[in-house]
Symmetry: C2
Subunit: 229 residues, 2 copies
Amino acid sequence: MPSTVIEDYLKAIYELQTEYNGARVRTSQIADYLGVTAPTATSMFSTLESNGFVEYEKYNGAVLSEEGERVALRLVRNHRLLETYLTAEFGYRLSDVHDEADRLEHHISDRFAACLADELGDPTTDPHGAPIPTSSLDVPERPRGEKLSAFDEGETVVVLEVDDRDEELLEYLSSRQVVPETELTIESVAPFGMITVRPPGHDDSVSLPDDVARLVRGTSVMDSDGTHI
Amino acid sequence: MPSTVIEDYLKAIYELQTEYNGARVRTSQIADYLGVTAPTATSMFSTLESNGFVEYEKYNGAVLSEEGERVALRLVRNHRLLETYLTAEFGYRLSDVHDEADRLEHHISDRFAACLADELGDPTTDPHGAPIPTSSLDVPERPRGEKLSAFDEGETVVVLEVDDRDEELLEYLSSRQVVPETELTIESVAPFGMITVRPPGHDDSVSLPDDVARLVRGTSVMDSDGTHI
DNA sequence: ATTATTGATTAGCCTAATCTAATTCTAATG
DNA sequence: CATTAGAATTAGATTAGGCTAATCAATAAT
């Protein structure tokens, strides 16, 4: 059984690999992502390689092996089930679940995970809109939409997913209804990378700088004439 | 924040200290209890001392400091809340909860523990009959009874507590109703350290060797003439 | 084609937690 | 009170995971 540290690396590699459509993940990306130094990441990549969790080429990053992906997906499943359970059963807010889930994901048994899933009726997405891998570690296919920064003025967009890592950001977004399943109207897209949206029932609109808008994904439901696509 | 390893030592010291009415705990006891070698325990005792978790005298064991006890009690609380939750909400059996709780106790937040307690209605004992420390870490006073090995033939005893560490034993005992709150009749006490009890509704009686009977605690409810004490 | 810049790796060290082997202490016994 | 068995400690090594400083590779720019 891999250590929780190794698990963290594998999950991080998985997240980055997924974000960049399967591209090789470089040591520096992981160093950044996990907040370790570059040499630490390099040395861990060798360890992962020699344990069969990744295929690593010097100076050219790594990709997960099947086994590495299995480990990562189990963590992702645990994490997202925990997040769902915490919000559904214990009244955690969207912005509170990440840290708790990030610790516990390493330590719950498959049985515990199954209990959570069962209690929740085998959910396929977590409260941030991310897909929950099944117990056999298949990731449910699901439209992932586009980054919010990719839409045009006048479009109506339904939010599909919000990144779960930045607590303060989540607090900001969820207090303004920028959460999965709400419809947003794109009010304006400024050339300097600022997008303004209006949630339903809110008179105030919400302005998001580009790098924030990239953490929210949605899909267009109607064009500017009000007709469904 | 202490490492989970340090937490394990502190909890172990707490358990032994409690079992032996506050006596100093020696390195060898801990080595046994945690399955490490004697030098490892010795070296950890120094570490614990220099971190202010215990008062340690060479060749004379250690006692928990206030801070050490606080850490231990928090773990005990988490452990017992988890055990209670797992049996009450997820249908774990008495014999299944220990390992899961032993891992998770280190990683749940106080908030998570509070949610468990809340959901369970602030229970004061776990399913093995052990007291659950409150959120301010007071241990509810509760009659701890006597070891089963201390009773005489003919007595009727209500089980108060069963040790939670040996999975197989627990499975054996709980399949035969030797669990908290059942009344047992002491059928015989053999001189070579074997006690035989009969649970209600069981025609078969259960024989327990001395070292097993020491892990079950109970209190006498009536003497051999059938009168309550 | 050579050089500069950036990114990655190697070398060497540190701490926590463990071990085995050797030594030293304590307590009990004659 | 001297001896000795058993416990406890010290000495020294190992492994995992991290760091800094120094070196090396790959790419981009002259």
